[in-house]
């Protein structure tokens, strides 16, 4: 199924909750309202014609200039072989979105990584703790205004 057809199905089903879509180019995606993410994702996984069964990646991007944080969920359908990304755009001061780890198990670790490095809060995640950085680290390193701490447990971070 082409991206255009998939986006048409989503437009028909979700109407105004689909904020935007890009069907051409190197990263075709749809942008949905953050409150509707879980229902859109459930539909994408369960719909007979779509069956997006594998979550490949969850990436957070910090747009400091626009005061936004973008989270992109890259999906693929093993059954049909088509791919699409779903994006949500969050307020940078309070980047909260509901977790999709109930839909795809794979989201568990990916969301922990996005929380750890970009600071996105995934509401309803069962174990939202840091995954790559030490548990007591301060700050989210992939934020554009991130400052390295001076020292960590008595060790100088930047000698």
């Amino acid at each position: 199924m082409t991206v255009l057809e998939i986006v048409d199905i989503l437009k028909h089903r979700f109407g105004a909750d689909l904020v935007g879509s890009v069907v051409e180019g190197t990263h075709p995606h749809v942008v949905v309202r953050a409150e509707k993410l879980v229902s859109v994702c459930e539909f994408l996984r369960d719909d007979e014609k779509l069956r997006f069964d594998l979550l490949r990646c969850v990436s957070g991007v910090d747009w400091m200039g626009k005061n936004l944080i973008e989270v992109s969920y890259d999906l693929i359908s093993i059954r049909f072989g088509h791919a699409l990304a779903v994006k949500v755009i969050l307020d940078r001061a309070k980047p909260q979105v509901e977790t999709v780890s109930g839909i795809w198990q794979a989201a568990n670790w990916h969301e922990r990584e996005a929380f750890d490095l970009v600071g996105v809060q995934f509401v309803g995640h069962t174990d939202l703790v840091r995954i790559l950085m030490p548990e007591d680290w301060v700050g989210h390193p992939l934020r554009k205004d991130y400052q390295d701490p001076v020292e960590y447990h008595g060790l100088k971070v930047k000698p």
Binding site: T26, L54, H110, I131, L132
Partner: protein, 390 residues
Amino acid sequence: MKEIEIHAQPDLLHEGEIASDIRTEELLVNMGPQHPSTHGVLRVVLVTDGELILKATPHIGYLHRCAEKIAENVSYRQYTPYTDRMDYLAAMNNNLGFALAVEKMGGIEVPERAQYLRVIFAELNRIASHLVAVGSYGLDMGAFTPFLYCFREREWIVDLFESVCGARLTYSYITIGGVREDIPEGFVSQCKEFLDFFEPKIREYNDLLSYNHIFINRTGNVGVCPADMAIGYGLTGPCLRGSGVKWDLRKNTPYCKYDEFDFDVPVGDGRFGAVGDCWDRYFVRVMEMTQSVRIVRQALERLSDGPVSAKVPRMLKLPAGEIYFEVENPRGQLGFYIVSEGGNSPYRLKVRGPSFCNLSVLEGLAKNCLLADIAAMIGSLDVVMGEVDR
């Protein structure tokens, strides 16, 4: 000899009291980060009840080197060596994934000779990587000899790589626009010589390890991952195919010249237990080596004369936009998500490491399994911690 005094307490022998006195307790076992069967610095905290694992929690991050943060501060061409150091057993494949993502975004055309060379080196590296996986898995299960056999063959591949680019582990040979330099004289015949030597050796591994009774007993029907569980956890590569799912990016969404080659996608069939057990995951790797040999032979035949790299400016600028691109690595799908604002370096670069997702399934696999099987499960997932932690 000193006499041992026994203080028997007759009233304790009463049955009911003994039952109330003996309690079973959950025991926390810490495995790693320095442990020979964790394949790097992985720490797994196991909650055990006697011999049973109730819960296994992997703790990662010991090898985190901020690869994504570094990407925001270096140019695209400078980033290639960093990709080497993610999955350090398959550096060629990592280079290829990054180069293809950047080329696709920048609209760079790669010369035909370079495309075939890329396939040759990617597949040779796949063989080398699977040799490490197969050999060290035998080592995990207590078979030392196959490890030496596998490393002997890998040595030859590494020598071939060294003759081409001078490095034995971190090659940075596949660069944006093509490959760094042309192959040296006599490389094609040396490569064919290696393939002729190597192909019959696969049967030797099977005799030594794959069909060994002890090995089958330790891996068959252990750590069974059904297809829906594998897809749900986002497993890719041999771990997904071991669960019987025929999914390979080289076939499903071909890149480079993979659509021209004739090769099969082996999947697990549950020969010694259930589909998706440790033995299936292991054996998919063995079968894939044969297919890689087939691909390399075909690519060597098609190798034509011509330039090996497109002209790429030293300070490459990509147009504003984004891309998500995946290639089939020995361990699964390696993805690069690049967001560009039109500058010299990426605004954001995210790496989807296949080992990262493959490792996350351990929690589900190990539940209610025997403590002795945890090493079999970790080994069958074949994770490289450099890629998990990036």
